[in-house]
């Protein structure tokens, strides 16, 4: 009984905060737009009893999903999001791995401080941090002024409102999610394994490639998913840093919802996005599971 109660808590949480909202969004995506409050129909009228239920279900259809295929804006936005997500994940990995490696190599008394520094940005509001990047990257921003002052460039660079700014924003924001799992994998690495590899004829570099990388792989995979999954749906960073030229599905979703007030189409966009994300989420879960089995 106690075990059941313990398991029930996370399931209740999932049910209330994930499944129910998902069903609501799914229902809206199958509805039609209308000028009303709420801006869609049909709505469920339980007082009409069985008849009401019947008219409710007969009013639902897949019109909005068909609509998504007619306008190439949507699939382009999905593809562009996937591409931006993938590229920024790769950059985050390239930046995050050396940081995590350096942390794991540092003297043990330094590690808590370094960990703190990685988490420190979370103490400031995410929006404020993104706004401050606007201040850094804009034409008159800190970065351009610095580069002009050093004489490296003669004209200010246009970074803000380009995809570059979006990559910078995503890499910056999600870097801790990459560093932490890789660090935790590297920290557990037994030094004598590297010595053994050297003893058996590896150079330092080869030992890194044959021992360190494979043994930190679970951390790399976890970090990549933790960056890739939220990056695809990212909305704030592209809309604040990317300008009108950057196409991402999160932004399209926002515009459908708030500019067009087309809730059903926006919901359909959200449902498709979720379906796309389910694949990497399942892969991520599998990785975690395998990891647990290997350790157990």
């Amino acid at each position: 009984m106690r075990r059941f109660a313990l398991i029930a808590i996370p399931y209740a949480w999932l049910l209330a905060l994930f499944l129910v909202p998902f069903l609501i969004v799914l229902k809206i995506s199958l509805s039609d737009i209308t000028l009303a409050i709420p801006p869609y129909e049909p709505t469920l009228d339980l007082s009409a009893g069985w008849e009401g239920l019947k008219t409710f279900f007969s009013g639902l259809d897949f019109e909005n999903f068909t609509f998504l295929t007619t306008d190439d804006l949507y699939w382009k936005a999905y593809l562009s999001s996937l591409r931006i997500g993938a590229i920024s994940t790769l950059i985050t990995l390239c930046v995050g791995y050396p940081i995590a490696y350096g942390m794991a190599q540092s003297a043990p008394e330094w590690r808590p401080t370094l960990l703190m520094l990685v988490i420190l940005p979370f103490w400031t509001s995410f929006l404020i941090r993104v706004y401050s990047w606007m201040g850094i990257l804009s034409t008159e921003g800190v970065l351009n002024q610095f580069l002009l002052w050093t004489g490296l460039i003669s004209e200010p660079l246009t970074i803000l409102n380009t995809p570059t700014a979006v990559y910078i924003g995503i890499v910056y924001t999600y870097l801790p999610f990459m560093i932490l799992p890789i660090y935790s994998a590297l920290e557990k690495l037994d030094i004598s394994l590297l010595e053994a590899a050297e003893d058996l004829g590896c150079s330092r570099l080869k030992a890194f490639w044959l021992v360190t990388i494979p043994l930190s792989r679970p951390g790399i995979i976890a970090g990549c998913f933790l960056v890739f999954i939220p990056a695809i749906g990212e909305f704030v960073i592209p809309s604040l840093l990317g300008g009108s030229r950057t196409l991402m599905i999160g932004k399209v979703l926002w515009e459908e919802f708030f500019n067009n007030r087309d809730w059903p189409v926006a919901s359909a966009v959200a449902i498709i996005l979720l379906l796309i994300l389910i694949v990497p989420i399942i892969l991520f879960q599998r990785n975690e599971q395998k990891q647990r089995e290997a350790e157990g």
């Binding site: 394994l193 050297e198 003893d199 004829g201 150079s203 021992v211």
Partner: protein, 378 residues
């Protein structure tokens, strides 16, 4: 079972013409202010099973890590087959090491762990397969080739580590506390297995251990170390029977140490060691000055324990049984002399416990021959 005729004794260290495989020459290693190895000179010969024995922190592991190339040498040189090894990085040395923690690669199967070093050599596939199979057979691991290290037992892991370090056929194999993680029974079996494998492969083994029994069992020669210095390097029998210092006598096995002043005679020494006790008579070839302070070391099993005073024993003391440690096969008696000194005597329990001759508080006689103990300078 018919035994082959006895082979010539393997003792290259007694042959002045023999070329040592490893030469430590005045090697010193410092970590900051701490001197781990202090001006150490040592020769180890080919095909030896050489044990470095000492308490933790005596520098034995540092010596091994210097051989493997994981620690630099502060002063002096180490030669391997006539070549100074200081400039050779660990991955280029014809030396392999078996780590205390085994250091098996957890992401590779047993087979791939053993093949790891061969792959780095770029050995062609057929030869590598044969070599790995050979190693698996040698360590009786054929059935576990496909398993990952976490899927096998501690004893099997130890054998994988051994197979992996032997696969490259090194000139020298270093074993760092190889049996430390095994339980007593398995450890004994594995000791004999190690000796067997060492003999079959003809590889020179250097083993680091703090377990004196292990060192005595496996090694052709044992180096007893303390605080970065060699206390004695000799065969297990010599170290046990002829310890050079009281430290070695005390570290290896059980011993009675008696301090006294020498009264040298022709061919033997009489030792005044306690008031109201007869002098101890010890035969020796060494010369001692009259009145020189000496230690007399005698092993408990060399002392006979009897109820009556034995006739014609060069050394005989009377005392009272204070304590009996029953170990199954042997019993150690702690006998208190009238002056309060305690002497340990050991007897094999050839009869059942109920027939034991002595019990607590019994008056007994301890006796031993003039050659049973050794005299050590303080």
């Amino acid at each position: 079972m018919a035994q082959p005729k006895p082979q010539t004794v393997f003792a290259p260290w007694t042959d002045p013409d023999a070329k040592p495989l490893i030469r430590f020459r005045n090697v010193t290693k410092r970590f900051g202010d701490f001197t781990a190895i202090d001006d150490l000179t040592l020769d180890i010969y080919e095909k030896e099973f050489f044990a470095l024995l000492g308490p933790s922190g005596c520098g034995k592991t540092t010596m091994m890590r210097m051989l493997a190339g994981f620690e630099s040498i502060t002063e002096g040189t180490i030669e391997l087959a006539g070549q100074d090894i200081a400039p050779v990085p660990p991955n280029k040395r014809a030396v392999n090491m078996m780590f205390q923690s085994y250091a098996l690669f957890p992401h590779l199967s047993v087979w791939d762990n053993i093949a790891f070093g061969l792959r780095r050599e770029g050995m062609e596939k057929d030869r590598m397969n044969t070599r790995v199979e050979e190693m698996l057979r040698l360590t009786r691991l054929e059935r576990f080739a496909k398993r990952k290290p976490h899927q096998i037992s501690g004893g099997q892991r130890q054998r994988v580590a051994l197979a992996r370090s032997l696969a490259k056929a090194p000139k020298l194999l270093l074993l760092d506390e190889p049996l430390g993680a095994l339980d007593a029974k398995l450890r004994q079996d594995t000791q004999f297995e190690l000796m067997d494998i060492q003999e079959k492969t003809g590889t020179t083994f250097v083993i680091v251990t703090h377990d004196q029994e292990e060192a005595m069992t496996v090694a052709s020669r044992v180096a007893v170390m303390d605080e970065g210095r060699l206390m004695q390097v000799d065969t297990p029998a010599e170290i046990y029977e002829q310890p050079a210092t009281t430290y070695v006598a005390d570290f290896i096995g059980d011993v009675n140490l008696m301090k006294g002043n020498a009264d040298p005679k022709e061919g033997f020494v009489l030792l005044d060691w306690a008031p109201n006790q007869p002098q101890i008579k010890a035969e020796t070839s060494k010369n001692f000055a009259a009145g020189q302070e000496l230690h007399y070391a005698i092993r408990p099993e060399k002392i006979a324990i009897t109820a009556e005073k034995p006739a014609e024993a060069p050394n005989a003391l009377q005392g009272k049984v204070l304590d009996i440690a029953y170990l199954g096969n042997i019993s150690t008696y702690h006998v208190e002399l009238p002056g309060g000194q305690i002497v340990k005597a050991q007897t094999a329990n050839t009869r059942r416990l109920a027939n034991r001759g002595f019990t607590w508080e019994d008056e007994v006689w301890l006796s031993w021959t003039a050659t049973a103990g050794v005299l050590l300078e303080s």
